[in-house]
């Protein structure tokens, strides 16, 4: 590739030798049953489905398809564990079990990371450095709350709710499982959790950890399946609390399904975050923030910075630098330690992303993709940006859940705020400027639950996460995350 003289040769002739993470220590069974009442068992109807490696479309394992009858059993087991040992146990003992889970995830961290990348397609660097350590940290954080709940809600007594039914997505499979299970257990609830259809393996590995940790039978039940299984959990009369992470459309269906019941629910739904770059920002850092915001985890992130709002005076510079940086991103084998962008999670998701690429162009947007090569088999999408899009463009309004960034410009902070908030979503947002007072002006003005200023896509178990408006309700993480799993009595 010819490099203009005034540009740094980011990729000037360097070829990275493959640096694949070893898989020889990984044990994935040919077939997995349902984890109910402390052990794995075959599904009632004997149905199984394949889980694939999205990077090469090869089958990794077969996983049980839980039916209504299986969900019944799981809920019964969870109820029995709740009324039995779990709610009677001293809180500090409950906490120690959760600490154990945290420690065992740390011990088996590399195994979890490799399986996460195999099953979901995310780069090993992310599963190894983000997903798995955060999952362990989440258990460790909430473990400590178990015997301290009286300090979390001044003037009120916090009581467990009972059985929590939890349905999680495929973008951070183990991490989402820990976000759901850890606070539920700490508050004294028992759990029936369904991992996503395309990424069940790390949740099943977590089931092994939970069994090894010696938790009483039925405290955590993990049932695999598709949408019907999730619906069976959510609508089950024996479930006291529903926690869901996924799309706003499904969240809406769940909220409707729960109407007229007394079930408590928290929903963590879609997003279309604006990442706002002011002219006085540290531009090179901001470009890194844009890349991290939209290309982290292939853009399969509900809080992704999928809309770039850049101040007009620096728009050309930012976009040029962004294009340069995109050229350096390595798309390919998720297990390779050099990989920046892994495989799209599923064929279905790839089709959805590709349909948006067509929509964006047909609506008059100008599409630019990096020129990188992608593997022949598997599901891949090059990092993509759209310029020349309007506020009403579908690629600006709708959640794509892929490595696709819509870029708009603004002149005043008012215009930036108006554009940023002109969406039914309100999960996250980003602001880049060197001026402190402007940071506060913007972070106050953005109607969203998580705001990153001069950074993006950072997560921590102590930090509450969740949305405004149609991005959901309730918080996960931190002190505020406890509220989802207790009822308060005067």
């Amino acid at each position: 590739m010819a490099i203009p003289e005034n540009k740094l040769a980011f990729d000037g002739g360097w070829d990275y030798a493959p640096a694949p993470e070893s898989t020889d220590h990984i044990v994935v069974k040919k077939r997995y049953g349902l984890f109910i009442n402390g052990d794995f068992r075959a599904p009632e109807k004997g149905r199984y489905f394949d889980t694939l490696n999205p990077a090469n479309e090869e089958k990794l394992s077969r996983v049980a398809m839980a039916s209504q009858a299986d969900v019944d059993k799981a809920v019964k087991a969870a109820r029995k564990a709740y009324t039995g040992p779990w709610s009677r146990m001293k809180a500090k003992e409950r906490g120690k079990y959760i600490f154990r889970i945290a420690r065992m995830i740390q011990e088996r961290a590399r195994e979890f990371a490799v399986i996460e990348s195999l099953d979901g397609g995310k780069p090993i660097r992310e599963s190894r450095d983000v997903d798995v350590p955060l999952a362990a940290a989440h258990f460790f954080y909430y473990a400590g709350w178990a015997d301290k709940l009286e300090y979390a809600f001044p003037g009120r007594k916090a009581k467990a709710l009972g059985v929590a039914g939890q349905v999680i997505p495929w973008n951070f499979p183990l991490l989402m499982a820990s976000w759901k299970i850890a606070p539920a257990l700490a508050c004294g609830n028992t759990v029936v959790l369904k991992p996503a259809e395309t990424t069940p393996l790390t949740a099943l590995k977590l089931a092994e950890v939970i069994a090894d940790a010696g938790l009483p039978d039925g405290v955590v039940n993990i049932v695999t399946g598709a949408g019907d299984t999730g619906a069976a959990i959510v609508t089950h009369p024996g479930v006291d609390k529903v926690a869901f992470t996924g799309s706003t459309n499904v969240g809406r269906i769940i909220q409707k399904a729960l109407a007229g019941t007394n079930k408590k629910y928290t929903l963590e739904l879609g997003g279309k975050a604006a990442n706002i770059i002011f002219a006085d920002a540290a531009i090179d850092q901001a470009v890194e923030g844009i890349v991290n915001g939209i290309f982290f985890n292939q853009g399969h992130v509900c809080c992704a910075g999928s809309r770039l709002l850049v101040q007009e005076s620096v728009a050309d510079e930012v976009i040029e630098k962004l294009k340069d940086r995109m050229e350096t991103l390595i798309v390919g084998d998720p297990l390779d330690k050099n990989t920046d962008i892994g495989a799209i999670n599923s064929h279905m998701q790839l089709e959805k992303i590709e349909s948006y690429l067509k929509i964006g162009q047909s609506e008059g947007g100008e599409m630019h993709q990096s020129s990188c090569s992608v593997p022949k088999s598997g599901y891949w999408c090059r990092p993509t940006i759209f310029t020349g899009v309007s506020q009403s463009s579908r690629v600006v309004q709708e959640e794509i859940f892929g490595p696709v960034l819509a870029i708009q410009t603004f002149r005043t902070y008012d215009e930036a705020l108006t554009k940023a908030n002109n969406t039914p979503y309100g999960l996250s947002g980003g602001v880049w400027t060197d001026k402190g007072s402007k940071i506060f002006k913007m972070t106050q003005g953005i109607r969203a639950g998580v705001i990153w200023a001069n950074t993006f896509n950072k997560f921590d178990p102590t930090s509450p996460f969740g949305g405004y408006k149609e991005s959901g309700m309730g918080r996960e993480g931190g002190l505020h995350g406890l509220g989802a799993y207790v009822k308060l009595e005067a």
């Binding site: 909220q255 109407a259 007229g260 990153w452 950074t455 102590t462 930090s463 405004y468 309700m473 005067a490």
Partner: protein, 290 residues
């Protein structure tokens, strides 16, 4: 001749309260509020869906300004409402009695309502400190969580109380920077309209509180389904109404806050947790560096 010498009192026209003004319902409809003997006390506005939509526009317009007002000011304005209500105590006692309440009970309800406003006025600059947090994240970032108002809230006030239920629900919603549209008690709507007059005299900005009178059966769906309303607080009503509200609320993922069979006269029925019900948690990250 005695009858001729008695002064004829001037009866009040009870209207609705939208955007700081007192219009009649745009629908031109009414319902007669009768005393226990069947005599007409007042022709109340039978508020319409269009009245509700107009109220949402007013509430939305007022919301960002009210949210931006300082916590100190929120507290002072709530205190001011209490001051004005105290001065008009006799009027409210009379209205409660007209609607069938005993003298002592009416007095206590008005007194408790005034005290409830003072209670929430005091929380204005404190609940944030109670519910916000600085979070000790592992990376080199300063990270904090604060509460912000959910936005525009629709409130279906309890039917069985004319004032204290109304006041409790309005106060806990607006003290946190939300604006609201309230459906008054269908059985005891008089105080709601008079309370609007108190609000108007209390430096509450136009549109922060909007109050409609009318039928629950007619307006519940609109209160629950409107796409520019962020949360709904509903008091009492049967299982069927609850199902309807929650189903319609899901269209825009509204926060649904049921308040069933609350004895609003009790002090334990008010707390900062009621304020928190219509608040969102916002978490902000910033790197620590040079």
């Amino acid at each position: 001749m005695a009858a001729a010498e008695k002064r004829l009192p001037v009866a009040k026209t009870y209207k609705i309260f939208i955007g700081g003004k007192f219009p009649r319902t745009e629908s031109g409809r009414y319902f007669a509020l009768e005393d226990h003997k069947g005599a007409v006390i007042a022709n109340m506005c039978r508020g319409s869906r269009k009245d509700f939509r107009n109220s949402v526009v007013a509430a939305r317009q007022a919301q960002s300004g009210w949210a931006a007002a300082s916590a100190y000011l929120h507290g002072q304005i709530l205190y001011r409402i209490a001051e004005i209500l105290e001065g008009r105590k006799a009027q409210f006692v009379e209205e409660l009695m007209l609607q069938g309440n005993a003298l002592r009970a009416s007095e206590r309800e008005v007194e408790e309502s005034i005290d409830r406003l003072i209670y929430y006025a005091g929380w204005a600059d404190k609940y944030q400190q109670l519910f916000s947090a600085v979070n000790p994240v592992s990376s080199s970032h300063f990270n904090f969580s604060v509460l912000e108002p959910t936005g525009v809230v629709s409130i279906i006030a309890p039917n069985d109380s004319g004032l204290i239920g109304l006041v409790s629900n309005i106060a806990s919603v607006i003290v946190g920077g939300n604006t609201c549209i309230v459906l008054a008690s269908e059985e005891q709507p008089l105080c709601a309209v008079s309370f609007a007059e108190v609000l108007q005299a209390s430096d509450v900005p136009s549109g922060v509180v909007n109050i409609l009178t009318g039928f629950r059966s007619e307006l519940t769906e609109q209160f629950a389904s409107h796409m520019d309303v962020n949360a709904i607080v509903y008091c009492d009503g049967g299982k069927k109404a609850a199902r309807t509200i929650q189903t319609l609320a899901a269209d825009n993922i509204k926060r649904v806050i049921p308040r069933q069979r609350v004895n609003w006269m009790l002090s334990k029925s008010a707390s900062p947790y009621e304020i928190r019900d219509t608040q969102e948690v916002k978490t902000t990250w910033h790197p620590i560096g040079t």
